[in-house]
Symmetry: C2
Subunit: 460 residues, 2 copies
């Protein structure tokens, strides 16, 4: 069957096809339709969910997020009705013909094609699975998509002892989930610290202390070598030891899902994700990419990087969708890598560059960890917060921050630094920023102000 309604009579209706119904794809679809209500906008999604939120997976496993439907903003039906976008779920795009401007789709084994005037690739990211013995055993779980949460919950139901491989955000969030379900948690991280891609080791240490104190059995400097068992997982072996476990969570990172991009001959960047410019254009005319499958311009490093985050996906989708209709009407200015996570009541955030990243990029930096409190000294209920600002030595410009604290104020703090970095603020600028104060929300010398002052070496 040929699904093609490209032109009706003399009126040329533009068709925008979006591959992938996650944050980026759905945002692109909604935006395109909003900018041209006469456009024929088609969203194609391989699973049965659209507008799904992968960030919800650990909380769904923990039971904090109750239903499967809660992990999506819209059902396909709702999205069609409210946004006027044609949605195909359970439909996999299997090929793209760039010359003929068609995509080939597989719906329950029946192959069809859809023509397009503009194409948006929003196929997201997929877990990186280590190729080691036992990886296919029952009880080895990767966290790919909200659609599979129920399967994962079943898989974990009778597991008492679970290994989490990878001390990334996902690893830490899953550790919270599993502890809250009463399971024993063994966390394996191959680097010498938690969150090695995010935090400097001094801040990683702060996080590790809390993670261990809440009951995680933490093994740093250990690499997973093998998973063993018969019908299902019985143990894991690392380069150092082996541990009896009933299940294994792979939090070993993700990679861009570039299968379709490769088939279309779309250029990849050095990061392995799709190369895009500020309009979210790929190298092929009228093909856009957005979300986790695409590179992101880094506003500090002035080069493309790959940092897959939900907020970027939403905004990039919106930019791509807008530009499919009004070519080059809006630009995505890039990212600085602001991330937030939590482990129970500990909130962890980072923006800009950490010391390691700065050094790798040839930037000489200063940075110092301070410990402060979240309220006025006389106000009850204050908690600790650790702040590490990273500044460029030559200019005093703030280029990064890492913040760990025991309430969600951390999220606000990191956003202030994100604004500071984006606007090239120095520590003196931050010191004199008119930050608000009331005794219940901050000390009169805000932790960020103290951080700026400490780095001034007595100048202010």
């Amino acid at each position: 069957m040929l699904i093609d309604i490209g032109s009706i009579g003399g009126f040329i209706m533009v068709r925008v096809v979006i591959v992938g119904g996650g944050a980026a794809g759905a945002s692109a679809a909604a935006r395109a339709k909003r900018f041209d209500p006469s456009a024929d906008v088609v969203l194609v999604e391989a699973s049965d969910m659209i507008t799904h939120a992968p960030c919800a997976i650990p909380y769904a496993i923990a039971g904090i997020v109750k239903g499967r439907d809660d992990m999506a903003m819209y059902t396909a039906e709702e999205f069609e009705k409210e946004r006027g976008v044609k949605v195909y779920i359970n439909t996999k795009v299997i090929d793209v013909d760039v010359d003929k401007r068609v995509v080939y789709i597989d719906r329950n084994g029946s192959i069809d094609r859809i023509s397009w005037d503009r194409l948006v690739i929003a196929t997201g990211a997929i877990p990186s699975i280590p190729r080691i013995p036992g990886i296919d055993l029952k009880g080895v779980v990767s966290l790919r998509h909200p659609a599979y949460v129920e399967d994962i919950k079943r898989d974990l139901e009778n597991a008492n002892s679970v290994a989490i491989v990878g001390g990334s955000y996902l690893g830490i969030e899953m550790a919270e989930a599993l502890l809250s379900l009463g399971k024993k948690v063994i966390l394996i991280e191959k680097e010498n610290q938690l969150l090695p891609l995010t935090l400097d080791s001094d801040m990683g240490e702060v996080v590790a202390r809390d993670v261990v104190s809440k009951g995680v059995e933490l093994h740093l400097n250990e690499s997973l070598m093998e998973i063993g068992g018969k019908d299902r997982v019985r143990y894991i072996a690392t380069n150092r030891d082996s541990y009896n476990v009933d299940a294994v969570i792979l939090a070993t990172g993700v990679k861009p899902n570039i299968e379709i991009a490769l088939k279309a001959g779309i250029k990849l960047g050095v990061t392995g994700a799709i190369y895009v410019n500020e309009y979210m254009e790929t190298n092929i005319e009228d093909i856009y990419a957005a979300g986790d499958v695409a590179e992101k311009f880094h506003r500090i490093l002035k080069k493309n990087t790959w940092i897959p985050l939900a907020t970027y996906a939403n905004k990039e989708g919106q930019v791509a969708g807008a530009n499919t209709i009004r070519k080059r009407s809006i630009r995505f200015p890039g990212v600085i890598g602001t991330v937030v996570t939590r482990f129970f009541n500990m909130y962890i955030a980072k923006t800009g560059l950490n010391t390691k990243e700065a050094v790798e990029n040839g930037i000489k930096v200063d940075g110092r960890v301070i410990k402060a409190r979240t309220k006025a000294h006389y106000f009850p209920g204050a908690v600790d917060v650790y702040v590490k600002l990273v500044i460029e030595q030559a200019t005093d410009k703030i280029i990064g921050a890492q913040i760990v604290g025991w309430n969600h104020s951390v999220a606000g703090y990191i956003d202030v630094v994100a604004a500071a970095i984006t606007n090239n603020m120095t520590i003196e600028d931050l010191f004199f920023l008119d930050i608000g104060y009331t005794p219940s929300t901050s000390p009169v010398w805000h932790p960020l102000i103290i951080s700026a002052r400490v780095l001034s070496k007595g100048r202010f």
Copy 2:
């Protein structure tokens, strides 16, 4: 007795005298001593407390802040010991001779003088007391200084029904305190909304709904005309009605405490506070002013204003203190009016200009109230937050925000907008700001991002 140790032998020791031991004065003293450990730094305070925190008063009355000492960072002894500053408490500066460079002080009736090389006026603010009948009755309380909190508590002890006059921050904070003590609270505000100097009326309405729902008897558009009673307060009369009360809290605003400045012949600005430049210099050589007694340069309006806040006092004190030693070494760049308060679990914040202030200053603005949630839609525990961004029509530049919400995230939000305003960010810049996200701290579309988008009229 002449307290004068101006020069010892051939070595000229500079003497810095600071009038007022609150936030500004103590910061100035500490900074001066730090920049020149050989300097003779003298801090003179009229009460028996230094480094006191007036912001603590409502919480001390409520019993949240336990002891009197908790309302100060240092005792005089500690400050002398740790900072090397000579402190005179219970000592009132009664006159200044600018030509002879001395201040005259009154210590328990004994008059002395202290010479100075640099003088810092940090005499703070005092309550504006309306001149109406009955104002001197027992049970009529103004909130001047932490030193008097115990007296106020005694005064309120047997009061069942209390009128608060003024729907300012202090009025609202005192309403929380009194309700939490089980008292009936009647709040009288002469304008047609709460927080009239801070919020636009639409946001004032949001606050008023909550204040009323928590039990305050709110009377807008009513002016206090008279306080009645015999030994102590029995009733108050407004232009509309009269109310039986056992006590009256005056939250009728504050004014700069310029008594000493006037005696010294120091120039005042149009606001009635001491005119200072960016170095915190007054018009008289070697005399500085800092804190609530001084004007503040407004970074948006590009003119001096008077906004007495603790954070400004601390920073201005530090700048003044530094410049007494290293002349014009550091500048105070000014303020934008960021304020935060709370009423129980409702947090209220403002930065920059509200619509009324913008209009008064001839700026054409757009602004719109949005209502959002503080967490991802699927995450439990989210609360409402109302955000009103105010932007300059001609440029889309953000010039103000008002935020009301039911957890302390509000404080972080307002600080992000403060950074945005300070850096001339437009709503498009804010929309694309790399704000952090995790489901427990914000929706994937952060309330600030939504606010920016709403004002873009469909552009992004």
